[in-house]
Amino acid sequence: MNAAADTLSAIFLIAGALLSLAAGVGLVRFPNVLARMHAATKPQVLGLLLILAGVALRIRSRSDLTMLLLVGLFQLVTAPVAAHMVGRAAYRLKRPSPELIVDELADRAPTTEVDSAGGGGNRRRRRG
């Protein structure tokens, strides 16, 4: 039981570290911000969850498991929000972005307010 849990924990830790290494390599080798964001998401969610599972297999007490669960849950909730913010800012800073093959927002009128909450579906747009 104990040796099996330790072996599984070692496997989880090495897998999480490998995902972190993959993210580092992708950060250095990918060409632009959006591609680098794709690489950056890996240790933030899956790598960290694997490492937390490895810690949970090594330390088997209830309060510590609750704390690890809290860390994993918080990371799952906040990583998409932060990635969405970064991606939106990256898209709006390079408005006609030549590196995008498919730009589904290209026919929209450019918005001047960057952080408008709530989409603003019925805002009046001035066409020049």
Binding site: L57, R58, Q75, A82, V86
Partner: protein
């Protein structure tokens, strides 16, 4: 936990951190640096968790909670500032 696993995990995480720092130094825009800083923080959290797993102690687990909150708040605020800075 054999010493080979400890050395392997340490080497992998250290290499990932060095690559993230390379992107922080060389990143052409601010957003590149924000993404690389997020990765560096995730790697650091992984390292803290791995150390707690190697030595079987739970002393540093609250640091993980604080670091996850801090990374989210920091990256979101910096991105807000960058987006408004553009105009």
């Amino acid at each position: 936990m054999t010493i080979a696993v400890v050395v392997a995990v340490t080497a992998l995480l250290s290499t990932a951190a060095v690559l993230a720092i390379v992107r922080i130094v060389r990143g052409p825009t601010l957003l590149d640096r924000v993404v690389a800083t997020d990765v560096l923080l995730a790697v650091l959290m992984g390292a803290i968790g791995a150390e707690a797993a190697f030595n079987r102690h739970a002393t540093t687990l609250p640091i993980l909670v604080v670091l996850s909150i801090l990374g989210f708040v920091g990256s979101v605020s910096v991105v807000r500032f960058a987006a408004r800075d553009d105009s």
